[in-house]
């Protein structure tokens, strides 16, 4: 018993018992009860998961910026509309020269000489070996130029042959410029007419210019039968030379330089043929 011991004796248990006498400040418990009540009420409310409150928060956040967002949307819509309109105008402007160009060569004859020209879809397979060779040699020809070429060939076939391959799809570019020039030169040599190539070159320049001329009726440009032969070979040159873009031309020239002359000769000869009173030209 501590009362029986010396009053000055203090043990560890006595010191620890002093801690039991520690009390908070007088105003502690009212504040404690108030905070505890608030926490208790908060614990009673079940907090909704974030994925349920996210849409409402997102809408509330976006609502603050509805004016600038609306203005931005209108500007974007206007920009897209103008862009689409300009694209449509560009396509229309490209289509017109092709039609004009297609009417230039007077390929139909009023006489008994008839040039049999296959449609664009039939002519396309002939150019595949050249395109394949271009791919093998690493000389890629622009896709846009190829599409334009197909479009021009198709239009020409529609005007000349009366049928249009509206479902023409993208094919590899038609025969190379050098190959066509070589074929023309061989024909000129065969027929002894050296002016064909010069005439073709002049006509090429005039057709490449994007002059917006009205479409001329092909029948109005019919020539006498004496010029049929010349026009026939000019048409052959026009259909391919003028339709190839400068970039594709350079590539094709490089490609053609790698092809053996013997192969070019054989290819040119194989596309020409005589049948009765007709001259067969294959594209």
């Amino acid at each position: 018993m501590k009362s029986d011991r010396d009053k000055t004796t203090v043990t560890l248990e006595d010191l620890l018992r002093l801690k039991r006498a520690e009390r908070p400040a007088p105003g502690f418990w009212p504040e404690f009860d108030r905070e505890l009540r608030a926490k208790q009420l908060a614990a009673l409310v079940v907090e909704r998961p974030w994925w349920r409150t996210f849409p409402a928060r997102a809408i509330a956040g976006v609502a603050r910026y509805h004016l600038p967002m609306g203005a931005s949307a209108i500007l974007a819509l206007t920009f897209l509309s103008v862009r689409e309109y300009q694209t449509a105008l560009t396509e229309a402007g490209l289509a017109t020269p092709v039609l004009e160009f297609s009417t230039q060569p007077n390929l139909e004859s009023a006489g008994g000489n008839v040039i049999e020209i296959a449609s664009a879809s039939d002519a396309a397979p002939d150019v595949r070996p050249v395109a394949a060779a271009a791919e093998r040699s690493g000389l890629a020809i622009g896709e846009a130029s190829a599409r334009e070429e197909i479009r021009s060939v198709s239009a020409m076939a529609a005007l000349i042959g009366g049928t249009e391959d509206s479902g023409a799809t993208f094919r590899p570019p038609a025969r190379s410029t050098s190959e066509n020039f070589s074929a023309v030169q061989e024909i000129e040599a065969l027929f002894g007419n050296r002016t064909l190539l010069a005439a073709a070159s002049q006509g090429f320049e005039s057709r490449v210019l994007p002059a917006r001329q009205p479409v001329v009726d092909p029948l109005a440009q019919m020539k006498p039968p004496s010029d049929v032969r010349r026009a026939r070979f000019m048409g052959t040159a026009f259909s391919t030379v003028a339709s190839v873009k400068p970039v594709a031309t350079r590539n094709s020239e490089r490609l053609a330089s790698r092809i053996a002359d013997q192969r070019l000769y054989e290819a040119g000869v194989s596309r020409l043929g005589l049948g009765g009173d007709r001259l067969m030209v294959k594209f």
């Binding site: 018993m1 501590k2 009362s3 009053k7 000055t8 004796t9 203090v10 043990t11 560890l12 248990e13 006595d14 010191l15 620890l16 018992r17 002093l18 801690k19 039991r20 006498a21 520690e22 009390r23 908070p24 400040a25 502690f28 418990w29 404690f32 905070e35 505890l36 926490k39 208790q40 614990a43 009673l44």
Partner: protein, 211 residues
Amino acid sequence: MDATKVIGKTLVASPERAQEADADVEIVRLVQAGDVAAFDRLILKYRERVLGIVYHLTSNREDAADLTQDTFIKAFQSINRFGGQSSFFTWLYRIAVNTALSHLRKHRLRSFFSLEMMDTDQPVSREIIAALTDTSGAERDTYARELQEKLNEAMQKLSTKHRTVVTLFEIEGLSHQEIAEIMDSSVGTVRSRLHYAKQLLQAELQPYLRR
């Protein structure tokens, strides 16, 4: 009042405590049945003791207030899981101890903020303070304040497990069995920890011990 009688009153499980436990179970049944206001009676009954446990474990009065509130919130949220296998105060003390220890694990380095006042008017405190110093009045309060800080420093030098045992046994007056239930350990472990903790405290508080 005799100090030993006070010690005996707090350490020995009395019939009053058994009656208190039965009353607690009745209140818990009411809360489980949906009577939320009945939980306030449990808060009023145990808030000082829970605050004492948490404060002696943390030695920080601000943290002690928050952790005591958290203890009651946790008890309120999980009171439906209380099955009555142990007494309610043992269950509540376990929540308080775990909350305080979890807080100490997250915040190891905290400065001490002792409670504002030590009740030196209690008979036990008066006897001990009088034995330690011959001063009176303001000087005695200053000495008591200094002693309070030294006690807290010595307690914080113990590990959390040893501090918990000392707090529950020496300050709160729980039995070894109750401490073993709260700490989820054996009685032997509790005794061992208590012995080791007292040795450390003896060394720390040697200047204040009078033999």
